[in-house]
């Protein structure tokens, strides 16, 4: 492992260098207790100790709305539209990196999603070790507490003025030395980074799964037919899709088209969709495969707890806790639901 030590005063110089070539996004406080990734400028205050950024980072690689094709309705011709601005996400927490790694696998499998891939290739990711744990987060229980790939650099703040920076890619290392030579990290600094990780891990033990996450697929599968449970839980579901839309691993989209005002050209675009919305599983002829809110509600937990696992061998949930927060009915907490199921059937033979 190659690692360097970067001192706080060096960071500003590096940010200036980086922002000449790409758009840099950093975490910052946007409202009391709410953090977001915003475009870096000289006067922005970086929240190095943010607990969770309010919206998920998937918007940088899978925007809420994105053009895919432009077409000519007179000539019957069409061409691909691929937009991929060069960007750097500086300060991404491991659970969000894990989510992006998962998206990579899903979007690249079978037929590659070219729009996603282009954006992803132009996105540099600098990870950041957490200091605080959001009160809705439970990433420590779903194996999202650390990542070994998916970042170009991984930063750990080891003292008020210094960072221990692990190299994840050649691109990352190159960017680190852009503003002059940097110091190789010492063994003591590496140890400081390790202690910093252990410290946040200790904080994260408060909210976690009560069982080994790998049992989840089997658990939810056994509970699939427990209609009473799902109906009761979904009673106050508004079918608003908020839990889907804030989720860093939810990637479903709808495809729509719109003609221009002269009715000559048009565009085909995609837009975020969510399996909790009533029209999600509705097909031509009006049939809806999941017409009741409780069926959709169950589907989401099956998707996160089993279906993604069946594809990739990991849960479709990274425990960021955004859905817990976004749900006004307070019923979208995967940790709570999976723990409840575990408590109900752990003693079954």
């Amino acid at each position: 492992m190659i690692a360097y030590t970067i001192y706080l005063p060096q960071v500003k110089g590096l940010l200036k260098k980086w922002s000449m070539d790409l758009q840099v996004f950093v975490p910052t406080m946007v409202d009391d207790g709410f953090y977001e990734f915003k475009s870096w400028s000289d006067d922005i205050e970086i929240s190095w100790d943010y607990d969770l950024c309010y919206t998920s980072l998937k918007k940088f690689v899978l925007p809420a709305q994105e053009d895919l094709i432009s077409f000519d309705m007179k000539k019957y011709s069409a061409g691909a539209v691929i937009e991929a601005p060069k960007q750097l996400l500086f300060g991404v927490h491991p659970y969000d990196i894990k989510a992006m790694n998962q998206l990579d696998q899903l979007m690249d499998t079978d037929s590659v999603d070219v729009n996603y891939r282009a954006r992803r290739d132009n996105t540099v990711v600098f990870g950041l070790e957490r200091v605080h744990v959001a009160d809705t987060a439970f990433w420590s229980g779903v194996e999202a507490d650390r990542v070994d790939h998916g970042y170009d650099l991984y930063w750990t703040r080891i003292s008020p003025g210094a960072f221990f920076v692990q190299v994840g890619s050649a691109r990352g290392e190159e960017m680190l030395t852009m503003d002059g030579p940097v110091e190789k990290a010492s063994v003591a600094q590496k140890e400081a980074a390790r202690r910093s990780h252990l410290k946040v891990m200790a904080k994260a033990q408060k909210n976690t799964l009560n069982f080994d996450w790998s049992k989840t697929p089997d658990l939810v599968n056994k509970f699939f037919n427990n209609r009473t449970f799902w109906r009761e839980k979904a009673k106050t579901c508004l079918s608003c899709g908020s839990c889907n839309l804030v989720c860093p691993t939810c990637y479903c989209f709808d495809i729509k088209e719109e003609a221009d005002d002269l009715l000559q050209n048009g565009r085909r675009y995609r837009q975020w969709d969510g399996c909790m919305l009533s029209g999600f599983a509705e097909i031509a002829g009006g049939h809806n495969f999941r017409s009741s809110p409780w069926e959709r509600y169950r589907h989401r937990y099956m998707r996160k707890g089993k279906y993604i696992f069946d594809k990739l061998g990991e849960l479709g949930c990274v425990g960021c806790g955004r859905c817990v927060r976004a749900c006004t009915a307070r019923i979208a907490n995967p940790r709570k639901i999976y723990n409840e199921i575990w408590e109900a059937i752990k003693n079954e033979v």
Binding site: V30, D31, F34, E36, Y54, T55, K59, A64, Q65, K235, T236, C237, L238, S239, C240, G241, S242, L245, V246, E258, A259, D260, D261, L262, L263, Q271, W272, G274, L277, S278, G279, P293, R325, A326, T328, A329, R330
Partner: protein, 246 residues
């Protein structure tokens, strides 16, 4: 329908703000108008013809004499479009439906109240069949343009059937409930791009109740966030007044 459909605009009880939104399309209007013939639109031209294929109707039905007029429009038009909240859901005109008739007559017309005939406000669909609805108070001009283009391409525009929450999430807004505010976005039909929330306000529900709105849940959620049902009802009645589920 002819290659260049003839389009007419009508208004009942309303402020004509939706037609103003159409006029606000400005130069875009010229492109759109190249596919149609506008035969009646008093906000932008003086000509008034009685032969038309598509009728855009703004405003609510609030008087007995409105009924034969809207029925006649319905008979002449191949496609009748309800334009704006007053026409599509009854809108704020329905506030009076919760007040004693003598009281609102006296409030609005004073001692001349008996000169006017009026009854409970209702949307167009309560009287005639409506083919297409463009919601909002006022309507979103981009959505109007889109709906017109879809009509010209032989389709009926279907507004979103999901709540405003979806568009708030797409815009990256902080949920108003997290800020301790009462917001009707959780049960209101989207399509506006969550414009009011994005601009710092809350959702007022002008696009009407979601087809599948879970009102029991909404009431419970508002209550848990510190808003009694009575308080919430004042907000809900502002636009959802005609809805029987309130």
């Amino acid at each position: 329908m002819p290659a260049k459909p003839r389009v007419a605009f009508f208004d009942f009880a309303g402020c004509e703000g939706d037609q103003l939104q159409v006029a606000n399309l400005e130069e875009r209007l010229l492109d759109i108008v190249s596919h149609i013939e506008v035969v009646r639109f008093r906000e932008i031209k003086t000509i008034k013809l009685d032969d038309y294929d598509i009728a855009f109707v703004e405003g609510s039905i609030t008087r007995p004499e409105d009924e034969p007029r809207i029925k006649e429009i319905r008979e002449k038009a191949q496609v009748l479009v309800a334009l704006g909240a007053c026409a599509s859901i009854g809108g704020i005109n329905c506030l009076k439906n919760f007040i004693n008739e003598n009281e609102y007559m006296a409030t609005v017309y004073g001692d001349k109240g008996r000169w006017y005939s009026t009854y409970a406000a209702r949307p167009l669909s309560a009287v005639v069949k409506v083919d297409m609805e463009i919601h909002g108070c006022p309507i979103d001009k981009n959505e109007f343009a889109r709906a017109v283009k879809e009509l010209l391409l032989g389709k009926i525009y279907r507004p979103p059937d999901y709540p405003v929450c979806v568009e708030c999430k797409m815009a990256g807004n902080i949920c108003r409930y997290e800020q301790g505010k009462l917001c009707l976005g959780i049960v209101t039909r989207a399509g506006c791009g969550a414009c009011c929330v994005t601009e710092g306000s809350v959702c007022w529900g002008c696009r009407g109740l979601l087809p599948e709105a879970n009102m029991d849940a909404a009431g419970q959620i508002m209550n848990e966030h510190g808003f009694s049902w009575l308080e919430a009802q004042d907000h809900l009645r502002l636009y959802f007044g005609y809805n029987g589920r309130l």
